[in-house]
Symmetry: C2
Subunit: 296 residues, 2 copies
Amino acid sequence: MRIGGIEAGGTKFVCGVGNEQGEVVDSISFPTEDPETTLGKAIAYFKEKSVDAIGIGSFGPIDIRPGSPTYGYVTTTPKPGWGNVDFLGTLRREFDVPYGWNTDVNAAAFGEAAWGAAKGLKSCLYYTVGTGIGIGVFLEGRLVQGLVHPEGGHMLTRRHPGDDFAGLCPYHGDCLEGMASGPAIEARWNVKGHELPSNHPAWEMEAYYIAQSITGAVLLNSPEKVILGGGVMQQSQLFPLIREAVKANLNGYVSASEIVERMDEYIVPPGLGQQAGLCGAFALGLAALQSQVPSL
Amino acid sequence: MRIGGIEAGGTKFVCGVGNEQGEVVDSISFPTEDPETTLGKAIAYFKEKSVDAIGIGSFGPIDIRPGSPTYGYVTTTPKPGWGNVDFLGTLRREFDVPYGWNTDVNAAAFGEAAWGAAKGLKSCLYYTVGTGIGIGVFLEGRLVQGLVHPEGGHMLTRRHPGDDFAGLCPYHGDCLEGMASGPAIEARWNVKGHELPSNHPAWEMEAYYIAQSITGAVLLNSPEKVILGGGVMQQSQLFPLIREAVKANLNGYVSASEIVERMDEYIVPPGLGQQAGLCGAFALGLAALQSQVPSL
């Protein structure tokens, strides 16, 4: 089987072809420009590839409610030109194959559950911490959709005692994304995050906010794995700081051995590394294909 | 069909018999004493009832992980005598029927989805705000279980600007339960909540904390309905305060019409009223029965 995948980010698109083991057979990447140009490039790529299905993990907000008149659209995004764009329909008009369609972070969570750090588990959360913050939610063997789709990056936070930064979110000011995204780090310290030394107090503060969100999400949803990806999480010194802070926050209340004894295996980087997004798109495409062929 | 239900609370047990429409045919209630006495009374009640299945929604923490050696146990509860008690096994030894077993709040969420305020929906959250705070999580048509089970009542909160109350939670101090449970209201104001006038500032503060948790849970899980039950929520003046605060918190970010236009129908009291817990237990029992008879 040949599964097409699109990791549609606000900055760049990655298109690829994978197999049913989630292995990348081929891929290309190009900057995200206006919809016509960008989707045109994606279509040109798949023209030559004869894929059996296509999975798309997209930046958003997007409409993922089956039956909605704007299902498959990018909806109210502030990204110029992309508001109210029929992403999925544009592809459908070119290729008559089953489609998987979800948010970028839900796709990554799905890929990690299929082939990565949450393989074999019924649940995980996938955080991306970068230009923005998103949380993919996979529970009871399913991606959570609901009213719209998870937007956990905007959960409200308790302020770090030593932090007087106002926060960058245009909607909420000091929500998680407003306080802990890459641009928030840069605005708070007047230097790009990757230029800060690994023992700079910025990282303890960053860990404080991310850990607070993880604590709430673990209490609410009890996921079996928490996976942290995105550009900011390339700062690997964050992992032990976050694990310690989550443990301190929970303070023994959740007595599962995964948390009390094996925290190093509970809060982890993506098993699929930088390919979590693209492989997640493959996983969506594969699931769409399999749901059309019940005997698989 | 005759479905048995047990709403097992830390203060009282309700046992009953319902039909497949979730209607209560018969019920009794008695105080929660030691496990032997209390489970003995439940067993004595069902001896005469010839039920086809039994559903149990229990106080916790409990073990709901299928395959776990202590599946069916009340685990680390501080309630004297109830730690490490084989609740489900004690019933099983008496009645050879299918069993549903979950937390009290998950059961209530399930009942509301079957016959109450979330009827026909694939998702809802059920809050109980009383002696403690619990959040039942029903998403994608399934109750969320995961690593242990949802314990959202202990999510961390941002402090109300006018509040210097330390919080009552022995684990987390000023988590949601520590700041907004019935005992927290009483400790903060030195008077029982139901003795405070409905225009007392206590209620705006209470709404602030509950709304903050709902905001986070709506962002993370995107539920189609949020249902608020429990003793504290008998103060009906809380509902408009909570709805306004959630809307202000979200600040237009989640543009679903359910939130922007129909908030009065989005955050609601239990459709099953005081019977949400018992009917939830029936729904668990009915689901257990149906999963054994796939043709139903």
